[in-house]
C-alpha cells in the first residue's frame, strides 16, 4: 500500500501542496481529481521522487521509497514523452530494461503488451510515425512493461478516442485485478466514476476528501429520490416535508429530510396508479466535486 502523509511543497515562496495525505491500496483503483493547478501533478512527482517534498513522507509497504523501490513503479507523466525516432518495440524494451528486467523478459512483456493494445503491426515503426492516440498507447505500454508494483498515471485518458479509452480502462482494471494499487488523475469525472474504487479530491493543495467512492457518494448525498408514474406527478409538491427538485410531467425528483417521508410518497403514488420507477438518487462525482472544492 502507498501512504502519502502530510506532504507539503512550495515553489518560490508559493505553497502548492499543504499537508496532503491519502492512501492507494492494493488491488484498488484510486481516482485523483482536482481543478487545474490544484497540485495533482506535483503530488505524483513527489511520489515518484522526481520532486522532493519540503515536509511529509511517502511510504511503500510501510518503508521509505528508495531508488530500488521506485524502479518497480510504473509512471505515465501528463506531458507524454518517448524518443520520437526510436522504434516502438525497441523503446518499450529499453524502458523495461531500465526498470530492471532482463532482455528476454523485457521482450516477452513488450510483445504481450503491444498485442494487448493492438500495436503489434507497428512494433518496428519509429514512434513519431504513429498517430497521437497510438503514441499514447505506446506510453501505456512503457508504464506497464515491467509489471509494476504500483501504477501512477497522470491524465491517462486525455487525447484518447472512445475505443482507446475502453482498451486502456480494461488494461487498468487488469492491473488492479493483479493486486496492484492504481492511482490515476483525470478531468473526465464520468470516467473516474466508472473506473475508481477509491477517490481523492484535492483542492488548492489540500486534500478536500478521500476514501471509498461509494461511501463518499453516500456521505455527500442528501436523501434524494426519483419517482416515475403514469399520470402527472405534480401532486408530490403538496406532500408535507417533501421538497421537489425537478418536475417533468410524470417524472419527479425530490428531497426529503427523513427516508420515511419518501416511503409515504411511494404509498400515495401506488394508491393513485401504476409506479414505473422509484429509487434513491446517488449524487454524481461532478456534484460532489462541486460541493467540496
Amino acid at each position: 500500500m502507498l501512504q502519502v502523509r502530510s506532504i507539503s511543497r512550495s515553489f518560490q515562496g508559493t505553497k502548492v501542496l499543504d499537508a496532503v495525505s491519502f492512501d492507494a491500496a492494493a488491488g484498488r483503483i484510486t481516482g485523483f481529481v482536482g481543478a487545474n493547478g490544484s497540485g495533482k501533478t506535483t503530488t505524483m512527482r513527489i511520489i515518484l521522487g522526481v520532486l522532493a517534498a519540503d515536509e511529509g513522507t511517502v511510504t511503500w509497504q510501510g518503508g521509505p521509497v528508495t531508488q530500488q523501490v521506485r524502479q518497480r513503479f510504473g509512471y505515465m507523466p501528463e506531458e507524454r514523452g518517448l524518443y520520437p525516432k526510436m522504434k516502438v518495440a525497441e523503446q518499450v524494451i529499453y524502458l523495461g530494461r531500465l526498470h530492471g528486467l532482463d532482455h528476454a523478459t523485457a521482450r516477452r512483456n513488450t510483445a504481450a503488451l503491444l498485442d494487448r493494445l493492438e500495436l503489434t503491426g507497428r512494433a518496428d515503426d519509429p514512434v513519431e510515425r504513429l498517430s497521437l492516440g497510438n503514441q499514447q498507447r505506446v506510453q501505456v505500454c512503457a508504464a506497464l512493461v515491467h509489471e509494476p508494483d504500483l501504477l501512477i498515471l497522470d491524465e491517462p485518458f486525455s487525447g484518447l478516442d472512445p475505443l482507446a479509452i475502453e482498451t486502456v480502462l480494461g488494461v487498468l482494471r487488469a492491473q488492479a485485478a493483479r493486486g496492484v494499487p492504481v492511482l490515476f488523475s483525470s478531468h473526465q469525472l464520468e470516467l473516474v466514476e466508472r473506473l475508481c474504487d477509491d477517490l481523492v479530491i484535492i483542492s488548492g493543495g489540500v486534500t478536500a476528501a478521500s476514501g471509498d467512492r461509494k461511501s463518499l457518494q453516500a456521505r455527500f448525498s442528501t436523501p434524494r429520490f426519483e419517482l416515475v408514474v403514469d399520470g402527472d406527478a405534480g401532486w408530490v409538491r403538496d406532500v408535507p416535508g417533501v421538497k421537489v427538485a425537478e418536475l417533468d410531467g410524470a417524472r419527479v425528483v425530490f428531497d426529503v429530510a427523513e427516508t420515511e417521508q419518501a416511503q409515504r410518497v411511494l404509498q400515495q403514488a401506488v394508491q393513485r396508479g401504476p409506479v414505473r420507477t422509484f429509487g434513491a438518487v446517488v449524487p454524481s462525482l461532478a456534484e460532489i466535486f462541486r460541493e467540496v472544492i
Binding site: 522526481v50 520532486l51 524502479q71 514523452g81 520520437p84 530494461r97 531500465l98 512503457a142
Partner: protein, 361 residues
C-alpha cells in the same frame, strides 16, 4: 539494478542511435579520406620533371651540363627567345659577358626560380644542432592534431542534442523517475567517449598504413612519440568538453536555444585550433597554450613533437587537465541535475545551480 547497470544501458542506447545515424560515419569517412590524401597527394605533386632550357654559348653549355636541367641547344639568342615564346622550353640560358656571372636567363612572364637555384653556386652547410623535424612536417603534424581535436570536440554537440531531445520530448521525466540522474549523465558521456576514442584508435591504426602507401614510412618514427602523448591529452580533453556539452543541452528545451547555451564551449574549442595554427612559431604563446586545460590537448603534443619541453612538462600539464576535468564534472553534474526537469525557457546557470538542492530526492 545498480548504478553501473543503468549507466551501461543508457550508454548502449546512445551508441546504437549514433552508429545507426549518418553523422558519425560522415565525420569518420572525412578523416580516413583526409589521412590517406595527406599521405599520398604530396608525393604525387612532388615529382616535378627538371625544367628544360635552351642553351646558347660555350659557358652556358658547360654550366647547364653540371646541373640536372634538360639542355636544348640553340644557334643564337633570337632562336632561344623563339623557343621560350613558343613554350618549347621553360627558359633559356645564354652567354652574356656583361653579366658578373657571365650568363643571362631569359624567361616569359615570371622569374624562373628553379632554374636560378640550379645555376647558383651555394656553399655547403653544416648544422651543429639540427632540428629533429623540418618546419613543414611540424606544421602538418600540428595542423593534423588541431584538426582532429577540433572536429571531434565540435561534434560533441551531438551530446547536447541528445540531452535536449530528452528534455524536449519530456521522456526525461520517466527516465529520472526510473534511474539515478548521475547514471543518465555518465552513460551519455561514456557512450560518446567510447565512440570517439574508437574512431581515433582506428585512425591511429590506419596512419602507418597510409604513410607506407604514401612512401612516407620515415615520418612514422618522428610522429610516433608525439602521437603517444596526443592520446591521453585528447582523451581527458574530450571528456572535459563532453561534460560541458551535456550541461549545454540540459539548460535548454528547444533546439533554437542550443546555439546560445553552447557559445562558450564553441569558443573554448576554437582556442586550441586557432592558437596552434597561428602561434606555432611563438614559443611563449605555445608554452602558455600547452598548460591551459582546453588547448593543452593540442599544444603540448605539438611542443613534444618539436622536441622543446622538459620531460616533466607534459606530466604537469596532464595533471592540470585532470584536475580541471574533475572539478568540471562535479559542477556539470550539479548543473545537469538542477536543470534537467526545468522546461520552457533557457535555464539560467544560477537557477540550475540552486535547482539541484531541492527537486531530486
Amino acid at each position: 539494478m545498480s548504478f553501473w547497470q543503468a549507466t551501461r544501458l543508457v550508454a548502449h542506447r546512445e551508441i546504437l542511435v549514433q552508429v545507426r545515424g549518418k553523422g558519425l560515419w560522415i565525420t569518420f569517412g572525412f578523416f580516413v579520406v583526409g589521412l590517406f590524401a595527406a599521405a599520398i597527394v604530396p608525393g604525387l605533386a612532388g615529382d616535378d620533371p627538371a625544367p628544360t632550357v635552351a642553351v646558347v654559348g660555350r659557358q652556358a653549355e658547360r654550366t647547364v651540363a653540371a646541373t640536372d636541367l634538360q639542355p636544348r641547344p640553340a644557334t643564337d639568342v633570337a632562336q632561344a627567345q623563339t623557343l621560350v615564346r613558343d613554350g618549347e622550353v621553360d627558359a633559356a640560358v645564354v652567354d652574356d659577358p656583361a653579366s658578373t656571372t657571365g650568363l643571362r636567363i631569359i624567361a616569359m612572364t615570371q622569374t624562373p626560380y628553379q632554374v636560378m637555384a640550379a645555376l647558383a653556386a651555394a656553399p655547403p652547410v653544416d648544422l651543429l644542432a639540427p632540428d629533429a623535424v623540418s618546419d613543414q612536417v611540424l606544421y602538418l603534424a600540428s595542423f593534423g592534431f588541431a584538426l582532429i581535436f577540433f572536429i571531434f570536440a565540435i561534434s560533441g554537440v551531438a551530446i547536447a542534442q541528445s540531452v535536449m531531445t530528452e528534455k524536449q520530448t519530456r521522456i526525461v521525466e520517466i527516465l529520472v523517475a526510473t534511474v539515478p540522474v548521475r547514471a543518465l549523465l555518465t552513460g551519455k558521456i561514456a557512450a560518446y567517449c567510447l565512440l570517439v576514442f574508437g574512431q581515433v584508435g582506428v585512425l591511429a591504426l590506419l596512419t602507418p598504413i597510409a604513410l607506407r602507401v604514401g612512401d612516407l614510412g620515415i615520418l612514422l618514427t618522428l610522429i610516433g612519440p608525439a602521437l603517444g602523448w596526443f592520446v591521453p591529452f585528447f582523451m581527458l580533453g574530450y571528456v572535459l568538453l563532453a561534460s560541458m556539452w551535456a550541461v549545454a543541452g540540459a539548460l535548454v528545451s528547444r533546439a533554437e536555444d542550443l546555439t546560445s547555451s553552447s557559445t562558450v564551449i564553441t569558443i573554448l574549442v576554437m582556442v586550441p585550433y586557432l592558437g596552434v595554427t597561428f602561434f606555432q612559431e611563438n614559443d611563449l604563446v605555445m608554452t602558455i597554450l600547452s598548460y591551459m586545460p582546453f588547448s593543452s590537448a593540442v599544444a603540448m603534443p605539438v611542443r613534444m613533437f618539436a622536441g622543446e619541453p622538459q620531460l616533466w612538462e607534459p606530466f604537469v600539464s596532464l595533471a592540470i587537465l585532470a584536475a580541471t576535468l574533475t572539478a568540471t564534472v562535479m559542477v556539470a553534474t550539479r548543473l545537469y541535475t538542477g536543470s534537467l526537469l526545468q522546461t520552457g525557457a533557457r535555464v539560467r546557470l544560477r537557477r540550475a545551480w540552486t535547482g539541484a538542492e531541492t527537486p531530486l530526492a
